[in-house]
């Protein structure tokens, strides 16, 4: 989805800046009971924007939003690294973390050689920006909290490296990571709360979970020691779920659906609500 703004914004979703300019954020998290320690490392390749941050005219911001609990928080810094805690009690379901750079004061005649010619043509004298104007935006990051296990073991993230309408699943992390192309990530998110699209998100999770459970069933090295593997085996023990050695594949499917608590039935319940 192309991002159109009334002034130049450095983001993967448009071409307001020349190639070589980039803004990204690496987000890492660590769960401790009811607190999640989050560490954000901002990475900026734009002399103009670096200068604005260094002179105090702009800052890095991380906007955290949870639609289920209507909770939102913003953390700001003028450093490349920011650490903070998320209290689990404020969140349920999908939580989106979006990194920004925004002005903290009014900015007059904002222009730069790093802007493309289209931006120069659009406004040769530069842009007058009020305080809070978004100057850069990185790919959003998502955490999912579920009531049964605090933070979900599956996380979805957008990535320019993934082809459009495809997904990649990786297991070499503390959590299972589903990466989607930007546009696909946005489509999945926008359809997620509608009845007709309500199956898409749990389908992706079901696929990822089946892969993960199969790795555990095969006693694969890929599953050893990771938090997601420990969490799955703990839940399986609690619910007395075991593998059928005569039909591993079938039991993988059944276990995945049980762990996701029958995603199809939840879709039917949602349908019922909306028709009433």
């Amino acid at each position: 989805m192309n991002l159109s703004m009334p002034h130049p914004v450095l983001t993967p979703r448009n071409s307001n800046y020349t190639s070589g300019c980039k803004f990204d954020a690496r987000i890492e998290k660590e769960s401790h009971e009811n607190i999640i320690n989050v560490s954000v490392r901002y990475s900026l390749a734009s002399k103009k924007l670096e200068g604005l941050v260094e002179t105090g005219k702009a800052k890095y911001f991380l906007a955290i939003k949870c639609n289920s609990t209507w909770h939102r928080e913003v953390y700001s810094t003028d450093k490349h690294i920011c650490n903070f805690e998320m209290d689990v009690c404020n969140y349920e379901g999908k939580v989106t973390l979006v990194p920004y750079i925004a002005t903290v004061t009014r900015l007059k005649s904002f222009k730069s050689d790093e802007h493309t010619s289209a931006m120069h043509d659009f406004n040769p004298n530069g842009f007058d920006l009020p305080a809070g104007s978004i100057l850069a935006m990185a790919d959003p990051y998502e955490i999912t909290f579920d009531s049964n296990n605090n933070e979900s073991i599956i996380t979805m993230k957008s990535s320019e490296k993934v082809d459009k309408n495809r997904y990649e699943i990786s297991f070499n992390n503390e959590y299972i990571l589903i990466e989607l192309h930007n546009e696909t990530f946005n489509k999945v998110n926008s359809m997620r709360n509608q009845t007709s699209g309500g199956l898409l998100h749990p389908s992706l999770f079901l696929i990822a979970l089946e892969y993960a459970i199969r790795k555990i069933a095969e006693d694969s090295d890929d599953s050893k020691g990771y938090r997601w593997a420990n969490a799955i085996t703990t839940i399986m023990d609690k619910k007395n779920l075991t593998f059928d050695t005569n039909n591993i594949e079938s039991s993988v499917h059944k276990i995945a659906q049980t762990l996701l608590e029958d995603p199809l039935s939840r879709l039917f319940e949602t349908s019922g609500d909306e028709h009433e």
Binding site: F61, W70, S133, D273
Partner: protein, 258 residues
């Protein structure tokens, strides 16, 4: 109610039983004296409730709402909120907890709060106010949900106002004009507590402000969100932004640069 009482929540067995009961006996939801304890005692499919892990630390006894001004019943939300001191945003969207509270703690209040008017379907009416698992209605029409979330938003906005507003003043505005609270749930821009506080201050300073003007003002502020991160603004800047948006509703020719 005793201090520090266990707050229960429904199990799926209890929820499904009540749901079916509501369909078979809708009239019980118009009777403030319905005894749901007795009704659930006939449920033989398993335990109907379990410990939610939360405690009720005050009284959940809420006086019935006045027939002629039912929405004013929302004024009691702060007492309700403070009595549920352990409840958090995460637990306050749990339909099992909210439905239990609606049936076993505030049923009488619920009957008085919501006026049933045909041609509304009674099953829809009961679902909206006693059950409502739909997120869209949970904080708006579910009785317990509305009380808790209204107080929670007012508390957060008061904290963000630099001492210029109390939660009571905000709730006073919300209960006198349900539109103000409902809209704060629908519009993402108003989930910023500091911005919500500025909007309430405008309502207090401009008692003659009509709903149309209020909506125009909010939409003008909402338009700013596209290119600006309003959470990055100081309270003074938010004040300037909202006042300018208000002026814009009075004079359409004013320039839009804030």
């Amino acid at each position: 109610m005793n201090m520090s009482e266990i707050l229960y929540k429904l199990t799926s067995v209890g929820y499904n039983f009540l749901w079916q009961y509501s369909k078979d006996h809708p009239a019980q939801y118009r009777d403030p004296n319905t005894d749901f304890d007795a009704i659930l005692s006939t449920c033989k499919d398993g335990p109907y409730r379990e410990d939610s892990g939360l405690k009720i630390t005050g009284s959940l006894s809420i006086p019935p709402a006045n027939d002629s001004a039912r929405h004013m019943g929302d004024k009691c939300c702060l007492d309700f909120y403070n009595s549920m001191g352990e409840m958090t945003p995460r637990t306050a969207i749990d339909p099992m907890i909210l439905t239990y509270i609606n049936h076993f703690h505030i049923h009488e209040y619920s009957v008085s709060r919501w006026e049933f008017k045909p041609p509304t379907e009674i099953s829809k009416f009961i679902n909206n106010h006693w059950f409502s698992t739909s997120h869209r209605y949970l904080a708006m029409m579910n009785t317990a949900g509305r009380l808790w979330w209204m107080a929670h938003m007012a508390t957060l906005a008061a904290k963000s106002s630099d001492g210029r507003l109390t939660a009571h003043e905000i709730i006073d505005k919300f209960s006198n004009g349900p539109e103000y609270y409902n809209r704060s749930l629908q519009l993402e821009v108003l989930r910023n507590p500091a911005l919500l506080a500025e909007v309430i201050l405008i309502l207090i300073d401009n008692p003659g402000l009509g709903i149309k003007q209020y909506r125009s003002m909010i939409m003008a502020v909402n338009r700013e969100c596209g290119a600006r991160l309003l959470d990055a603004l100081s309270n003074n800047e938010l004040k300037r932004l909202t006042r300018h948006a208000l002026d814009g509703t009075r004079d359409a020719d004013k320039p839009s640069v804030l």
